[in-house]
Amino acid sequence: MAYREKETVKVLAQECLADGIFSMWMETEAAKTARPGQFISMYTNDAGKLLPRPISICETDGKEKLRVVYRVTGEGTGTEQFSRMKAGDTLDIIAPLGNGFPLGRAKGRRVFLMGGGIGVPPILELAKQMECKEKQIIVGYRNGQTFLREEFEQNGTLYISTEDGSVGTKGNVMDAVRGNGLRGDIIYACGPAPMLRAIKEFAGDNHMECYISLEERMACGIGACLGCVCQSKEKDPHSNVKNKRICKDGPVFLATEVEI
């Protein structure tokens, strides 16, 4: 039996896309199997930082290259250490992890692909792979630093919201949906909890199927430690309580399955 293992991978390129937002391409076996909405556990090379950082997958070439776009969360953090790595450097990862977005549900339907803040990057690979009737990408940023914008424009109809109103609709992604009078049948979303709550409510009001990607502080990333649970509507068969593991049962959930 072949066992999964921690893989040492090579950094292929690193680029700063916006203030505190970095893009890293790496060479990994995981690129072959990674699906949109899955994440990878990235380990620092710092002996004092033992836990992996769960980072969503932004792009994969399906062969050997995988891209993450991530936010540096502060001074002296693991993500800051990642941001200093250069082409040729190596790091350890476990990948891919979690369940991706259910792509098949989009077939023949009008789709909203929604991302906010650091929830924007996983929407890119999803947009690239999605086959649907109408692909409406709605992404929200703080300001005019609209990272990944060109890539999104090539993969669907793009609507942008910015908190300061410098680009697109002023406000958040829901303001962009309403401001543009968008209509759809199914939503795929990733972003901060308040955004996901608003999207879940909108989906409910408009009878749209809705999948959301959640995040939480994780330790193991593989479903063993029960650090990253969310509340589920019904009793979960694995936990036997109303808790689901975001890393293993998610991070993507049907919005009506979880309490957020």
Partner: protein, 314 residues
């Protein structure tokens, strides 16, 4: 025979990795620290569980527990904190699903038992007496639940009394898991020995606190959490040494073991076996690697049996 003399014959040396813990023979001295390994299913994708002396499961109670609110985990320098709060599926589902799963592997099964009251612990011990498991580990040292847990593990009288109570119902050998959040670990070890424990394991996590200075809030929803990882290893080694000198019982040593060296240190301090916990999150295959590392250390220094190394520090 002195250690120096043994070094000479290292290469031809046959190494016997088996250890006997309270009458149960493990194939090697390495198990998993409760709560870091689930019931093994997730880690079985990363290693053959049959390479471990035993798998110690996450704590299980008489009924399902939902655990604490999130965030439940945080990183600290050289370790982590958790306040999961003993979320568990309850003994019924555990017996139906987790025991048969673990029985597929050639390893011993140690079931960690948690409870809010003496009755809870006894109910689980009684239920497990009919099940195909090898040992029970009684968690009287969890710092993250309001009732039960550590309440039994900080007072020698309460610890002795809960040990006696569980022993009345348990058919398998009982390991009492001790808390480091006490003034004298020796007193606690003696108390559970007096209560009839078959072995002790230590240390559980140390109670800690972490504050987010930007939001001026506690990082963990529970405010406090248990600190684990290499940061606590020297404390664990000291406590294992003290406990091993205080009682005649077998000692399972744990606390921040990240490498073979850490495990050997624990054994030299007096541990008959070791548990690996937080390191599993850094490297899912680390337990099996440590078991192999111990064997290689024994070859290098000419030890034949694990028990020859126990408490050998001078």
């Amino acid at each position: 025979m002195s250690t120096e003399k043994k070094i000479g014959c290292a290469a031809e040396n046959t190494v016997d990795m088996r250890v006997n813990i309270a009458g149960i023979e493990w194939k090697n001295p390495v198990t998993t620290a409760s709560g870091t390994f689930g019931s093994g299913a997730e880690f079985s994708e990363f290693l053959d569980l049959g390479r471990l002396g035993a798998v110690t499961t996450k704590g299980v109670a008489n009924v399902p527990w939902a655990g604490n609110p999130t965030p439940r985990v945080a990183e600290v320098c050289g370790g982590m904190m958790n306040a999961v709060g003993l979320q568990n599926p309850g003994i019924d589902l555990f017996c139906e699903r987790d025991i048969p799963f673990l029985r597929q592997y050639d390893t011993k099964i140690i079931v960690n038992v948690c409870g809010r009251s003496e009755k809870d612990y006894c109910e689980v011990a009684e239920r497990l007496s009919e099940e195909d498991v090898d040992m029970l580990e009684i968690n009287i040292s969890c710092p993250n639940v309001k009732e039960g847990g550590i309440a039994f593990g900080q007072d020698p009288k309460a610890a002795e009394s809960i040990t006696k109570a569980v022993k009345r119902y348990a058919k398998q050998p009982v390991i009492m898991k001790l808390s480091p959040n006490v003034t004298s670990i020796s007193e606690m070890a003696k108390a559970v020995e007096a209560g009839g424990a078959d072995a002790v394991s230590l240390i559980n996590t140390l109670t800690g606190m972490k504050i987010d200075i930007h939001r001026r809030r506690f990082v963990l929803a529970n405010k406090t959490g248990g600190v684990s990882g290499p940061a606590i290893h020297p404390i664990a080694v000291r406590m294992v040494y003290e406990a091993a000198h205080a009682v005649k019982l077998p000692v399972i040593g744990m606390g921040g073991i990240f490498s073979t060296q850490d495990a050997i240190e624990m054994i030299l301090a007096g541990a008959d076996a070791v548990s690996v916990g937080t390191a599993n999150f850094h490297n899912p295959a680390v337990t099996a690697e440590i078991a192999e590392g111990i064997e290689s250390y024994m070859r290098t220094y000419g030890f034949t049996r694990v028990s020859d190394m126990v408490g050998l520090v001078e």
